[in-house]
Amino acid sequence: MADVISAPFHAGTTPVERRNYLTEPKGLWSWLTTVDHKRIGIMYLISVMAFFLVGGIFALLIRLSLFDPSHVILGHKMLDAETYNKVFTMHGVIMVFLFIIPSIPAALGNFVLPMMLGAKDVAFPRLNLASFYIYWAGAALAMVAIVTGGVDTGWTFYTPYSTSTDTSVAWMAMGIFIAGFSSIFTGLNFIATIHKLRAPGMGWFDMPLFCWGMYATALMQVLATPVLAITLLLMTIERLFRIGIFDASLGGDPVLFQHFFWFYSHPAVYIMIVPGMAIVSEIIPVFSRKTIFGYRMIAFSSIGIALIGFLVWGHHMFVAGQSQTAVVVFSFLTFLVAIPSAIKVWNWLATMYHGSITLETPMLYAISFILLFTIGGLTGVFLGALSIDVHLTDTYFVVAHFHYVMMGGTVMGFLGGLHYWWPKITGRMYHERLGQIAAALVFIGFNATFFPQFIMGGQGMPRRYYNYLPQFQPMHAFSTVGSWIIGAGLFLTLGYLLASLRKPYDAPDNPWGGKTMEWQTQSPPLTENFEAQPVATHGPYDYFPVGTH
């Protein structure tokens, strides 16, 4: 291949029909019993997309019901208060536990991580398959909870509400309890894989940054998720047996529940966002055709986020009845955790600067990520500042903040990664122009939906409100219209991605000119990934003509 950087779409070999992991062995049974990380990744991908759709429909319902304080749209009464509470709870639970947490690690990460390392599979392939079925067992219990009347606690399950409401809390808690183990097993697998299955020649600092992000994520999955399991278990037992740990009337402490819950769930928001950052760290250098700037800083900042992220959970509880001492300590630590995220943003910008940039769909999503995550991060500073948090917590400001991080961050990263690796996964190119249009729609719709919520929150609109003061109606309506634009963009995406599957294989092995190992094998890859054990001979982002440095 030439030393001069070539434009995309012309790099790589001409695709031909050849044997690959998709077609051999054949048959549904061979898929359901596969231990191939790529097939498990695809099964995860289909599952999380299905739950993304379900959670998204709940989101559209919420927004539709809030269009007008009367909840009447075109002469139809939308949700009543109880249904509304159940819908936002299930939106949260499905999006967090069944979509975002497994989305990047278990679906995309499963597919590309071993290939990026030059490995044939993850360390424990059977555990990988088990994790997929455990995920579905948990999801099935969550579905049982929805069918048997739903849950109205909010995804945070705060006691004593969750131990006294008569909805299907126990089913849902057990569903999440079980799904948590699938997350643990994925993380366990990734740590072992990264430690022991790197290709010959690939040192820790020769790994693609995606792998560093997955490593940091996996650390948190392994160390935090067990506490979620025990928290939900204790909450369920409290509900059934009244054991007195979280119930104030029995001598327990509801604030202790919040400590337990957030000890997992704060690291969990980093379990969600760090993979998004990891994907952006891949996309930016590839589409800037330039070496990543500050490789070590980005790698260390992932680990830094993972470690400091464990120490800041109390910032969810500034007004919850913690001691003032704890509040101040947690606020201080919260500001420290902002630094590694900022470092990443600066290094991405420095990578783009003096690059050779093209704006294909993955790059559009990566730039969306940077802009939206910046807003999410800066508004996080508001919420870390104590006196302002007292005013803003439990308002729409918080809702907007975490959607800017979770959706503006993780989902943009997920969509970027999905488009980036789509040719490798399926062997097909999607319609590029439609991809760009959809990315623009999602970006515009997202901002239209959530930016007004910052203003509403600042003005004192509390979250989880079914009825609201008439003064907020215009902004709620604006927000609802924004949600339709997101919906349009995402359905368009679904459409052209599915349409691309009807084509014969047309994707080159390396459509974007990536330097990491997954691009050095055919598209779609062989079952054993590489024809022979690859050896790392250069860094993952060496976009310089050889011999000029």
């Binding site: 360390a123 022991k196 067990p226 007195g244 327990g252 202790l256 050095q520 054990q533 050896v535 050889v546």
Partner: protein, 231 residues
């Protein structure tokens, strides 16, 4: 000329299945060497043990928190427990840990018969442990010492003994489930040991189960003084 795309390891000795993996049923296809596979399994089980520590840890934190709120209730509550049974179970578990580590040693040194004997003793100890636990639970239930809302002890001077017993049943119950799970896995090990699967060339399952069993022992090492002895 150095190529930008990563070359395959043409100049290298081919690794993994090509060299010897095809002939060794115990080497999975994605590992190059037995040692790599062994180390990977060890990292895997230690990570699993870390999750176990944090899961049990949640219960320990809850126990400590409630104990600091109701020290008298916990003190009064612990008087109902059978100290002798708890001590006996501690000894039984320590002995089982000892036989387990011997089993690992004999597997590593390819001594099949001794391996089988040690595994059998370990399983026997686990059964004794569960038997003693059964006697204890029966004793507590007969006094009305049930968890949570089912607790009834008219002589409870503190009003909060039920919290102690809730934790007692949750912690020993979860621990008991782990003993039971260990018993099942050891039955599987025993079957494979009798079949002669484990030699110095391949004994990963014995080692991994051994580590799990020791962790279950360590958790009991903490549970015993916390529940039975603390004043």
């Amino acid at each position: 000329m150095s190529s930008i795309s990563t070359p395959v390891a043409g100049a290298h000795e081919p690794h993994g299945d090509a060299a010897h993996g095809h002939h060794d049923p115990n080497l999975q296809h994605h590992f190059a060497t037995k040692e790599q596979q062994f180390d990977t399994s060890k990292i895997g089980i230690w990570l699993f043990l870390a999750t176990e520590i944090l899961m049990f840890g949640g219960l320990f934190v809850g126990f400590a928190y409630m104990q600091s709120r109701f020290p008298e209730a916990f003190f009064e509550g612990h008087k109902h427990l059978l100290k002798v049974a708890g001590t006996l179970n501690t000894v039984v578990l320590l002995v089982s840990s000892f036989t387990m580590v011997l089993a690992v040693h004999y597997a590593r040194t390819s001594r099949r018969k001794k391996l089988i004997i040690c595994l059998a003793i370990t399983m026997f100890c686990a059964l004794i442990f569960l038997g003693v636990k059964y006697i204890e639970y029966t004793h507590e239930f007969s006094e009305g010492l049930y968890p949570g809302r089912y607790f009834s002890n008219p002589d409870d001077p503190t009003g909060h003994e039920f919290i102690f017993f809730s934790f007692y049943f949750m912690m020993t119950g979860l621990h008991g489930i782990h003993i039971l799970a260990g018993l099942c896995v050891m039955a599987w090990l025993l079957r494979r040991a009798i079949r002669g699967d484990f030699t110095s060339n391949y004994y990963t399952p014995v080692d991994v189960v051994g580590l799990y069993w020791h962790l279950v022992d360590i958790i009991w090492i903490y549970l015993f003084p916390l529940l039975y002895l603390i004043r």
